[in-house]
């Protein structure tokens, strides 16, 4: 087992699954679904093994693989995971596994659907395991097109057409990535003299210590990256793709997009922004904190008035990303711990939310909140999932959302007391819109028109069981998650301490 390329195997498993699917005939629906499920089970098993086998006492990058890839520009096929990327990788496979089962009832062109789904998951997994910035961008942009095709074929046209939402999602993210690409290229060019240049993240992270990256340059490059990663993380005002996109997307895409893909933005901000450009992060942190509050309050406020279930959760996910951003902007160990923990927690709960909405929509053919009601009578299991996700979303202690959010507030309160207070106040909005949809959709008198709707059963229960048990399990034993995250954040503490000592630039303006 010593030399087994575990991370390559994790990334390639979905690709091999997709190749298997291509060779199956279009009509073999059952076997297509079984193969996809098995593929994801294998991938999930690999990741779970990696998560358990990761050695806390050593920390740092583990399961490392490194091979030169494009020699003339210094790109290497460098893989490795640490306490930051492992939770993200686990999240990817958990949601991917659930997404296969959440799409169990797809009978329109199932072969293409599952092929695209597996390619998408391979791409997302790739972004979290790579330690090379070029390969990171490569995987990130790779996932955009499968998502587009999935939205336009299997999406739903309610408030916006699926063509519109698919195109908006794609172009928005790609335009953001144009800034990201330029940021990465300037970073690559400036960090080392010609001949020594590399895209390796670890090497780039040392460049500022050699004094290769001037403060002004860091500020400039971080700005470009902030636009790119920020629009992916749906940072206000670059958030508008997110509710529209989720509304048009099929359930599995909404789950993966809201659950994992968005998190690449936060992951990138920490991994690239903070580790490679610390002075840039310091400069822009107050701005990020301000925008984070805008995220929390503005999106929370809009979620209150939405009538479409998917829009409520879409805006709620924008609002939750505000917590991640403010935790990041605090630039202390506690805040960043919370930010990463919250990315994981939000991933699980939003995926569960979208899966449940998918079931409700599939059975009742509506997502319009006023048209729904009393579904707990007919669908107790779906209602349970809804309740779990909703309660986690408003940060109920004992569920996964509480500890990360609490950590974020502790971390950010030290740096931005006013913003932190405002963000905490945002929880009121969250409670309002979550409880409102729970009450309107699940409870109330039994309605006769939904009597024909069957509860989730069989394969449909898998997302509920898997995500629900993680939601409760990680909530009761937060150490499983936070211990891992903490081991990843620990190596950053010296940089953060140094930053803390450095004078603030913009800070004075915004505090």
């Amino acid at each position: 087992m010593e030399n087994f390329p575990l991370l390559t195997a994790i990334m390639l498993t979905p690709i091999i699954g997709a190749l298997l699917l291509i060779s199956l005939p279009q009509e073999a629906e059952k076997s297509i679904k079984m193969v996809s499920a098995l593929t994801m089970l294998v991938a999930l098993a690999f990741v779970t093994y990696a998560y358990c086998a990761y050695d806390f006492s050593i920390g740092g990058m583990q399961f490392v693989e490194n091979r030169p890839w494009i020699k003339d520009v210094g790109v290497s096929y460098a893989l490795g995971v640490d306490g930051i990327s492992l939770p993200m990788l686990l999240l990817t496979m958990l949601i991917g596994f659930s997404a296969v089962f959440a799409s169990w009832n797809i009978n329109k062109r199932p072969k293409e659907f599952f092929v695209l789904l597996l390619i998408l998951l391979a791409g997302v997994a790739g972004t979290f395991i790579t330690q090379d910035l070029f390969v990171f961008l490569f995987f990130y942009e790779m996932v955009v097109i499968p998502i587009y095709i999935m939205v336009i074929i299997w999406g739903s046209t309610k408030r916006v057409t699926k063509e519109y939402s698919g195109m908006k999602l794609t172009i928005y993210l790609l335009l953001g990535s144009a800034f990201m690409l330029v940021g990465v290229i300037t970073l690559y060019l400036n960090s080392y003299p010609e001949g020594m240049r590399t895209f390796n993240m670890a090497a780039l992270a040392q460049a500022h210590e050699f004094g290769h990256l001037s403060e002004n340059f860091q500020i400039f490059a971080f700005f470009l990256l902030l636009i790119g990663f920020g629009s992916l993380l749906s940072m206000w005002p670059f958030h508008s793709w997110s509710p529209d996109g989720y509304a048009g997307a099929p359930t599995a895409v909404s789950m993966i997009h809201a659950g994992v893909l968005k998190k690449i933005g936060g992951y990138g901000l920490i991994r690239v922004g903070l580790m490679i450009l610390p002075m840039g992060a310091k400069f822009w942190a107050p701005v990020i904190a301000l925008l984070a509050v805008a995220n929390v309050l503005y999106a929370g406020f809009i979620a209150l008035s939405q009538k479409d279930l998917k829009y409520v959760i879409g805006y709620s996910s924008v609002s939750h990303m505000g917590y991640v951003l403010i935790g990041f902007a605090a630039l202390n160990g506690t805040g960043i711990n919370g930010a990463i923990g919250n990315m994981f927690a939000h991933g699980i709960m939003s995926a569960l939310f979208f899966a449940m909405i998918g079931y409700v929509y599939e059975k009742t053919h509506t997502r319009h909140i006023p048209d729904l009601g009393g579904l707990a009578h007919q669908m107790p299991r779906v209602a349970t999932g809804f309740m779990l996700a909703g309660m986690a979303s408003l940060g109920l202690p004992g569920l996964i959302g509480f500890i990360p959010e609490f950590t974020i507030f502790v971390g950010s309160f030290r740096e931005y007391p006013v913003y932190a207070l405002l963000a905490i106040a945002g929880i009121i909005f969250t409670a309002l819109y979550v409880l409102r949809i729970l009450a309107n959709v699940l409870f109330g008198p039994r309605r006769a028109e939904f009597d024909g709707c069957a509860d989730a059963s069989g394969a449909e229960l898998v997302p509920l069981v898997v995500l629900g048990s993680i939601l409760v399990g990680f909530g009761l034993f937060p150490q499983i998650l936070m211990g891992m995250v903490n081991s990843g954040v620990e190596p950053m503490l010296p940089i953060l301490a140094k930053l803390h000592a450095a004078p603030a630039f913009l800070g004075g303006l915004f505090q």
Partner: protein, 473 residues
């Protein structure tokens, strides 16, 4: 004198003559498919042979003709492009009214012209090669004699192309008059900043810009792409563009290196306008060939941007991009030919449901278009990274950013085609016929695009060697 340096050109011309002769001997009812296969086989042989050649550099005819790595890689590119184009045009040729054998022969003559151009080291040889290519394209563009559009395109190309050639020649005459030489190295020796040289440079660049089809010298391109036979449109956008770009690189970096500040100003303005306008205007096109025409204008803008880097990395990126562009265009146009054959039109809406009728061709089209847009894992992503990295490295961050933004906007109109193919239902349930040669060409372009995109190292090394050889001179 080492005549062997010309061996690949001689082989191509002999092949063309052989095809003309055989065409006369074959019975009338024969479809001339055999001649197509003969040409493809012959070209494969020549291509294999070129891989045994070394990019010396060595010269022949008193230094008028050079064989260096730069020329060699472009020759190989043209050979591959022509070979694949012939593969997917066999069906197309079969449906022509007549003169089927000549189609292949003329294409080979155009190929010979391109191959001579990239090896030429003096203005006259350049012009001869250029005219050999252009004159054959005049004929080929109007090759569908029963179609008014094709004839109109042929006529248009003839008139505008001749005017551009005249402008080019006029510029050359100024340069000759001032420096007393047509040899690029000699010109470089005598060149200084004088009005005569600037006028000459301006006219030469303008003439070449016309062939590369960059804005504002692009007016001919959309009409001619639309009217010309589809395989010829593909060759125009690949061969004519790459050959003229190669010639321009040689002229600018060898003969006019002293006037760098002047031509860099021109190139930067033209490249910027081309990227913006080419991308924006393509959004409104409803005909696939016109759309590709405008997008190929934008692509020329990206390649031209590589000139701004003015170093080995810049030229390497241009060469790399030209190679991947060949495969993208071959992929796209082979699908266009197949759709035209089955559905009878070139409108984008007639691609509806292609993903269900022919998953392979839909995938080839998607991969080709997204490669042009620069989305990984297609080759275009790496190509654009090379170009924009080289450009940004030389301090033009704004141009790099603009290039990336424009390529992301271009995804919009490429995705419209993808949408029509994947989302819409097929128009009819008739079986979708694809001939074997076309399928082979499509698969080759698909695999090559993915291969270069995922493992670009070997091609990048070749391109670097080629780019270096331009600076040895």
């Amino acid at each position: 004198m080492n005549i062997m340096l010309l061996s690949s050109e001689i082989a191509v011309i002999c092949l063309a003559l052989l095809i003309i002769t055989l065409d006369l001997l074959l019975p009338r009812f024969e479809t001339r498919r055999s001649l197509g296969y003969l040409a493809v086989t012959g070209l494969s042989g020549v291509l294999a042979y070129t891989f045994t050649l070394t990019g010396g550099p060595a010269t022949v005819y008193n230094g008028l003709f050079i064989m260096d790595s730069f020329a060699l890689i472009f020759k190989q590119m043209f050979l591959i492009a022509t070979l694949l184009t012939m593969l997917f045009s066999t069906d197309y040729v079969e449906n022509l009214e007549g003169y089927r054998g000549e189609f292949y022969a003329l294409l080979l003559f155009a190929l010979a012209g391109m191959m001579i151009m990239v090896s030429a080291t003096d203005l006259l040889t350049i012009f001869v090669g250029l005219e050999l290519m252009t004159v054959t394209f005049y004929i080929l563009v109007g090759f569908q004699f029963n179609s008014i559009k094709s004839s109109e395109a042929g006529m248009k190309y003839l008139i505008l192309g001749s005017a551009a050639s005249a402008v080019l020649l006029y510029g050359m005459s100024w340069v000759y008059g001032y420096t007393g030489s047509v040899k690029l190295a000699q010109i470089a020796y005598h060149a200084d900043v004088s009005p005569a040289m600037l006028i000459g440079l301006g006219f030469i660049i303008a003439g070449l810009f016309f062939k590369i089809a960059v804005i504002p010298f692009h007016m001919w391109a959309p009409d001619i792409y639309e009217g010309a036979p589809t395989p010829i449109a593909g060759m125009l956008s690949v061969g004519s563009k790459a050959a003229s770009l190669a010639v321009m690189l040689r002229i600018l970096f060898v003969a006019f290196i002293a006037l760098q500040t002047y031509w860099m100003a021109i190139v930067s303005i033209v490249a910027t306008i081309t990227m913006i306008v080419g991308t924006i205007v393509a959004i409104w096109q409803t005909n696939i060939k016109r759309m590709v025409a405008y997008s190929s204008i934008a692509q020329a803008g990206y390649m031209l941007l590589g000139v701004m880097a003015t170093d080995v990395n810049g030229i390497k990126s241009i060469i790399f991009y030209s190679v991947l562009y060949i495969f993208a265009i071959v992929g796209a146009f082979s699908v266009v030919v197949a759709v035209r054959r089955n559905r009878g039109t070139n409108e984008i809406k007639d691609f509806s449901g292609l993903a269900q009728q022919s998953p392979l061709l839909a995938a080839v089209m998607t991969v080709a278009l997204l490669s042009m847009a620069g989305i990984p894992p297609m080759a275009g992503f790496v190509g654009k990274m090379y170009i924009f990295t080289a450009v940004i490295d030389n301090g033009y961050i704004g141009l790099g950013l603009l290039g990336f933004i424009m390529s992301m906007i271009s995804v919009y109109y490429y995705l419209i085609v993808v949408k029509v193919m994947y989302m819409n239902e097929p128009q009819d349930q008739k079986p979708f016929l694809i001939s074997e040669p076309l399928r082979i060409a499509a698969i080759i372009s698909l695999l090559a695009t993915l291969w270069i995109g995922i493992y670009p190292g070997p091609l990048a090394d070749l391109a670097t060697t080629a780019a270096r050889s331009l600076f040895i001179l």
